[in-house]
């Protein structure tokens, strides 16, 4: 039994019925790091958002189930669902500059969740926050907890967001492009930190990214998305050795690789795009007819 099991999840725009997710199946075991890969508009972020219950209001889920720890979240009443998501899952957001409230100190932004949702005593929560900041290698946690976000660098803020995500010991964390806004040298530190924290806490991780290089560093398995549809699901090892789907192969060939400048950065051929679009169209037809 998988820890997270998404079955047949479909979502569309409310206004125009334009499909955003098409019959997505996905399972993540406890303690596994699973990558969601695709280009912009592929729907990779939407899966994480649907799971955390933070989809934009313009998008509705039409069918499917999201089972988290054996409970179908979509069947729960809203209040119950919020509570359950809050207790078992967390998010590492993309942009560390906007994810922290600029007018509040760091400390309460980490502890609020522990106090409000999990009902901890404030002093316990603060001790926990200090411990976590220490764990994400932030020097002088006491001072940092009294700081405002603008006093800290982007990398520092992302560390705080990571600490904050792990604070309530969630069983699943969704990381939505957590290093896209960072310099490559900082990205390396943050990726290593996420891997380290994930291993120590045994948390399942859903890692949304467009960067195949990043996937190869942190994930064990991955799903490749196109047009809201999973076109390939495999282990990282198999994917980089021999991608099964032609679109995956093209994506890999288009990814820049400084060690092999001539073989990389090959444009995705029109024929491959046409083929995968035909697959999406065929799927839509079968949905309508069956």
């Amino acid at each position: 039994m998988s820890f997270l099991a998404i079955k047949g999840l479909s979502a569309r725009l409310r206004d125009t019925s334009f499909p955003i997710l098409r019959d997505v199946f996905l399972s993540v075991e406890a303690g596994e790091v699973h990558g969601l890969v695709g280009e912009s508009g592929a729907g990779k972020s939407m899966i994480g958002k649907a799971l955390l219950g933070i989809l934009p209001t313009s998008i509705e889920i039409t069918h499917g189930t999201i089972e988290l720890d054996g409970v179908d979240l979509l069947r729960l009443p809203p209040a119950e669902r919020r509570r359950r998501i809050g207790a078992t899952a967390a998010l590492i957001p993309q942009d560390p500059l906007t994810a922290l409230n600029p007018s509040r100190r760091i400390g309460p932004q980490i502890t609020d969740r522990l106090v409000d949702i999990l009902g901890w005593a404030r002093s316990t929560a603060e001790a926990r926050a200090r411990e976590l900041l220490d764990e994400v290698h932030i020097p002088d946690p006491v001072r940092v907890m009294r700081s405002y976000p603008h006093e800290l660098s982007g990398g520092m803020r992302q560390r705080i967001l990571i600490a904050s995500a792990f604070a309530a010991e969630p069983k699943l964390i969704v990381a939505d492009e957590p290093t896209t806004a960072l310099d490559v040298t900082v990205q390396k530190q943050i990726l290593k930190l996420i891997a380290e924290m994930q291993a120590r806490h045994g948390t399942a991780l859903l890692f949304v990214t467009h960067d195949l290089g990043v996937v190869s560093k942190v994930c064990q398995s991955l799903s490749v998305l196109y047009g809201g549809m999973v076109v390939e699901r495999t282990t990282v090892r198999d994917f980089f050795r021999e991608p099964a789907h032609s679109y995956s192969r093209a994506l890999l060939a288009a990814t820049p690789k400084y060690t092999d400048p001539l073989a990389s950065l090959t444009p995705v051929p029109e024929t491959v795009i046409a083929a995968v679009q035909a697959e999406v169209a065929a799927h839509d037809r079968s949905q309508r007819n069956g």
Binding site: L13, T16, F18, P19, G41, S58, Y226, G228
Partner: protein, 283 residues
């Protein structure tokens, strides 16, 4: 690329048609008032005082919306009142817009000392209490159409200047402005060809809003008897009169009030509707 974002369309139409329809109707009514009005708006007949609207018991035929305490036809007065209201809306609104938007555009895009001068002027201007200011102005100049329009322009240009300045500043930071500079375009020319089209939707919304405000200001000034001569029919004047006889003749108050309300609402919705309909970025 199959992408959901391109699929989002704005719902337009109804708002634009309803508000535009009412304004068009009003313009027609104002232009054709002499032919449409069943009576002379100034004709008094004390025997016909406080007649109720046509569908109420005791109405006289021909006085569709009733008469006021002096026996003047309410419908005719509303029709003629529309003339003044629309002239004020159009002239005061456009002048305010022209002056305020130009200064705001210059301050927001050219920055430097131009911005310093204009911004300070706005700050100082806004520290004056506006109602007092306009009453003072009219007291000095004497009541009349020109005074009303001037009062509105003098008070409200800052509204445009502030908003347009902020918008022009935001647009000025975009790379297409840098791109125009790389292409060798002069600053002033950049302001008109690059910045103006991007702040124009905001200006249109503000303009129609301002027209609504102008109608209200005119009504307020009429209400406190500072508008044009008291005999001439104005909506504000009618509301002021109606207030005194609200218990005996509610229609004298209610009909001009409803007209005023619909007009102001239509002006503000017209701007939003026009923006939704004609802005290429939203379309």
């Amino acid at each position: 690329m199959a992408d959901g974002r391109s699929q989002i369309r704005r719902r337009v139409g109804l708002k634009l048609w309803l508000s535009g329809g009412w304004i068009a109707f009003l313009v027609m009514a104002a232009l054709c008032a002499p032919w449409l009005a069943p009576h002379d708006p100034l004709a008094q007949d004390l025997f016909l005082g406080r007649l109720p609207p046509a569908w109420v018991q005791g109405a006289e035929p021909g006085f569709y919306l009733g008469t006021d305490s002096l026996g003047r036809d309410v419908l005719s007065r509303i029709l003629y009142g529309a003339r003044l209201a629309l002239i004020v809306a159009l002239v005061a609104g456009s002048l305010t817009c022209l002056i305020g938007a130009t200064l705001g555009l210059m301050a927001g895009f050219l920055r430097g000392w131009v911005d310093v001068v204009i911004s300070r002027a706005i700050d100082i201007w806004m520290a004056f209490p506006p109602v007092l200011f306009s009453i003072l102005l009219i007291a000095v100049m004497g009541p009349g159409l020109t005074s009303i329009i001037l009062a509105i322009v003098v008070i409200d240009w800052t509204r445009f200047a502030r908003v347009v300045r902020a918008e022009a500043m935001a647009q000025g930071a975009m790379d297409y402005v840098a791109s125009a500079q790389v292409a060798g375009r002069r600053r002033i020319s950049t302001m008109f060809t690059e910045i103006l089209p991007n702040v124009l939707p905001t200006i249109v919304v503000l303009l129609t809003l301002e027209m609504g405000i102008a109608v209200i200001v005119e009504a307020i000034l009429s209400f406190v008897n500072l508008s044009i001569s008291t005999d001439d029919p104005t909506w504000g004047g009618m509301i002021a009169e109606g207030r005194t006889s609200i218990h005996q003749a509610w229609w004298v108050l209610v009909f001009p009030l409803v007209t005023l309300f619909l007009t102001v609402l239509s002006f503000s919705q017209l701007g939003e509707g026009l923006k939704d309909r004609f802005d290429p970025v939203l379309r």
